[in-house]
């Protein structure tokens, strides 16, 4: 529970608006436990969270899991590009977006951000994420499998960790609706050379996917001893 919710409950406020932090739907997640297990491989895991900042998630990942957390809320970037009518510039923007050095991040929480991107932007973002992820690192992403509804009120979602096997979905107002869903093979190609290690299709028309970056293969020396003979 975040601070604002806590104070709201203390005051006995029942009528908290969606954007202001009402409790959303709690749904089971199959992939989070495995994502956390993937972080265990790292002694001092560094986590990159691409969703909006959630206080209780910071406490969970920072305190309980012991990660250093990097917050890079991409929904704000999308909102800004939409409001400035510069959505076509998003692919180039993603190319410069991440200041992190290559292979320095142990885990990435993409949540459902790829649902809001067109293919070119998704390609560039995925390329940057695979760059910063360490060998053996894990990436969690959700993909909608339902065609986007022509909704009058598009929303993003805050994904709040309730526990290791449950997430709370809190919608909040968005300027951009979800785009056409990606096919399974497109998802795999998007993140190459990452490998899909878990892929769960939920009843909620959502695919939970866990990717892992293959550990580096042994470097072949430029000149082998055999060649020098």
């Amino acid at each position: 529970m975040v601070l604002s919710d806590f104070f709201a409950r203390l005051r006995g406020d029942d009528d908290v608006t969606a954007s202001g932090g009402t409790d959303g739907l709690i749904k089971p997640t199959k992939v989070l436990t495995r994502f956390l297990a993937g972080l265990d491989a790292s002694q001092h895991p560094v986590l990159l969270d691409l969703g909006p900042v959630v206080g209780s998630n910071v406490t969970f990942f920072g305190g309980e899991v012991g990660c250093k957390i990097l917050i890079e809320d991409l929904s704000k970037d999308i909102e800004r590009h939409v409001s400035q009518s510069k959505i076509a510039e998003l692919p180039d923007f993603f190319e410069q977006r991440f200041p992190q050095d290559s292979e320095t991040v142990s885990g990435i929480l993409c949540w459902d951000i790829f649902d809001y991107l067109e293919r070119a932007a998704a390609d560039r973002l995925a390329r940057q994420l695979t760059r910063v992820l360490q060998p053996g690192g894990v990436l969690l992403a959700f993909f909608s499998t339902a065609d986007p509804q022509s909704t009058i009120h598009p929303t993003y979602t805050r994904h709040v960790v309730v526990d290791r096997s449950h997430l709370e979905y809190r919608p909040y107002k968005a300027a951009r609706a979800k785009q056409r869903p990606l096919l399974n093979r497109d998802i795999q190609r998007l993140f190459e050379p990452l490998r899909v290690t878990e892929n769960f299709l939920l009843k909620t028309h959502q695919r939970e996917v866990l990717f892992r970056k293959p550990a580096q293969t042994a470097q072949v020396p430029f000149e082998s001893p055999l060649a020098m003979r």
Binding site: L3, S4, V53, G55, L70, P99, D101
Partner: protein
Amino acid sequence: MNIGKSVVIKGELNGSEDLTIEGRVEGKIEIKDHSLTIGSNGKIKAQVFAKALIVLGEVNGNIAASEIVEIRDGGSVDGDIVSPRVAIAEGAHFRGSVDMQRKAGQESTPPKPASPGARQAQMPGQVAQPTVR
């Protein structure tokens, strides 16, 4: 002690009592054994070292707190936080990194800025943040 909203300080601010800032501070703030509150009018472009930090205004720079950092609803932080407890309210803005495992104020090597905002706040002559393990 209060620093009012018409006050602008450029340089280093040290103290040995709790402090509330409603004005602007650029440089470095160090009140390691006391609480610092950045009021809703406060605008900080500095590295901050405190025991506890409560942010209702804007902080642009890295933060090290030995007890807790609280970013309240409407508060904004662009920078890296090192503190054993961090509470971020919904409605708060935060961009940067959070490290709850490292001890705040342990050693000093300059960390990489987490964001363009944090990068701007690092000025020549400023004391660097505690190092990465």
